[in-house]
Symmetry: C2
Subunit: 309 residues, 2 copies
Amino acid sequence: MINKLTAKIQKTNAPIVVGLDPMLNYIPKHIQEKAFEEYGETLEGAAEAIWQFNKEIVDKTYDLIPAVKPQIAMYEQFGIPGLMAYKKTVDYCKSKDLVVIGDIKRGDIGSTSAAYAVGHLGKVQVGENKIAAFDEDFATVNPYLGSDGVKPFIDVCKEEKKGIFVLVKTSNPSSGEFQDRLIDGRPLYELVGEKVAQWGEDCMGDSYSYVGAVVGATYPEMGKVLRKIMPKAYILVPGYGAQGGQGKDLVHFFNEDGLGAIVNSSRGIIAAYKQEKYGKFGEENFGDASRAAVEDMIADIDGALKAAK
Amino acid sequence: MINKLTAKIQKTNAPIVVGLDPMLNYIPKHIQEKAFEEYGETLEGAAEAIWQFNKEIVDKTYDLIPAVKPQIAMYEQFGIPGLMAYKKTVDYCKSKDLVVIGDIKRGDIGSTSAAYAVGHLGKVQVGENKIAAFDEDFATVNPYLGSDGVKPFIDVCKEEKKGIFVLVKTSNPSSGEFQDRLIDGRPLYELVGEKVAQWGEDCMGDSYSYVGAVVGATYPEMGKVLRKIMPKAYILVPGYGAQGGQGKDLVHFFNEDGLGAIVNSSRGIIAAYKQEKYGKFGEENFGDASRAAVEDMIADIDGALKAAK
C-alpha cells in the first residue's frame, strides 16, 4: 500500500491528503436540512448529513488527490450511525481508488492492539471465515505503550501489505509537554522517531517503509531532524492551513527525491466555501470550493518544493 | 460519578472491576454455536456471541462488584455489529447499576479530542437536540498529546459529572520504552502522574478527583511512588491475575483510607471456567465459574489489604 501511495502521489503530483473530518457546522444548511427532514435531528440524521457532505467533496476532488484521511472521532461522536457513515466513507473512497488513511490514533497492548489492528487493517476470524471490518489502507497509531502496542499493527501490515503512521511529534501547541522533554539530552520525539525507523526496517516497500510517522507542520525544525532520523518513513504532516503551517514550512519534511511526506489539510479544504477567498462559489457549490482549495494547496506545496531546489 | 464509584466500592467491599474483553476463544462453544446458527459465521454472529457471553457474566456477578470495564477494541474488531454489542453491554451494565469504565484509550487534539469526549461521556448537539452516543461513566485516555488532548475530556467530565483514567504507567513489558525514560532524573511516568494530579485539582468529587490514572499491577514499586504523587487520583490497576500481578503487589496502590485504587481482572474472571481451579463448574456454567473467581479475587485483595495494616 505504501507503493500505491507513492505511485499515486507521483501521478497526481500532489503530496497531499484531504482530511474528511466533518463537523456539523462545516456542513451546508441545505444538506443538514435534507438529512434532518428524512431522519430527524437524530444521530442518524447527523450521520446522513456527514455522508452526503463527504460524498460531494470526494466526487469533486478525487481525481486530483492520492488519499483521504477520515478522522474517526468526528464520526464516533455520533455513535453507531456515525461509525456507519465512517465505514461508508471508507468504502466509497476506496471505490474511487483513493488511499484511505484511517485517523484512529489507536494503541493498546498485546492482544488488544492486535484487535484494533485486525479490525481496521486486517481480517478477523469468525468461525471458518476471515472478515474485514473497517478495512482502511493505513491507520494512525499512538506509541505511548511502546513496542507491545505497535508491533501487533506491524504484523497485520505485513500480512495485508498495509501501513501505519505512528504519532511522533503532533501539531498541537501542548505537544511539547511530554514529547519535547529531554532524555539523555534529546527530546522524547526523537527517541520515538528512532523506534519508528527500527520498526520499519523489516517491512519495506520499494522505497519507503510500511511504518510511517506523524509530524506536525507547525514544527518545521523538528521535521528537519526527524526526516534524517527516519529516512525511509513516510511522514504524514497535519497542521497545514487552519493550524498555521504553510508551504514553505513543509520542504524539510520531504526527501531529495521529492517524496517522503504527505501533507494533510482538513478544514482548509472541506470547509473552504466558508473562507472569503472561495466565497464566490456559494454554499450550494461547496464541493467546487473544495476543489479550488485543493488546487491552490497543490500549487502552494509544489511552488515551495521548487523554490527550495 | 467518582462519588458513586467510591460508594459502590465501599458497599461491596470490592475494589475491583471486571474487564469485559471477550475474545471469541473465551466464549463457550454452545454460545458461539447458537449465535452462528442464527446469524451465520459473520460479524453479526460474533457480536451476538459476545453479547450473550457478557450478559451471563454480568447476571452472575453484578451484585458482587462495583464496576465493569469493557475494552472497546475487542468489539471494534467486529466492526459495526461489534460496536453495537459494545453499546448494548454498556447499557445493560448501567441498567444493573454498575459503573461502566469504557476502556477506549482515546486521545487526540482540540476539537478531535472533544469529539471523543462528547461521544463517549457527553452529549452531541444535533440541531436542537443533545444526544448521548456511547454514554459510558468513565473513559481511559492516552496522554501522549499533552494537555490539549486531555482537557476536552475534563471539560465534558465537569459538565456530566463523569471521569477519566489517564494512562500513566501501563502494565505491559515494553511500557518502559518511553514511559520509564529519565527526564531531569525522573521517569516520564512521574511527570505524567504530576500532570494527572494538576488536571484533577479543579474537578474534585467528595474525596477523589474526576481525573484518575492507569498504573499497571505489574509495577508495584512505581505504584507506590505514583500513589504519593497523585494522592487524590483513583488508580485503575490492570495486570492482576493473567498478567502476573497478585494481591500483595496491590497494597501500595491504595491510600490509608483503604480507597484510591480499583483493580481490573479480565481473562481471570471472564474465562475462569477454563482454569483448572474452576473446571468443576463445566463450560455450560461459565457464569458460575466467573462468580467464584470474583469471590476469590475479592478475598485475595481484602486479605492483602488487611495483612498490610
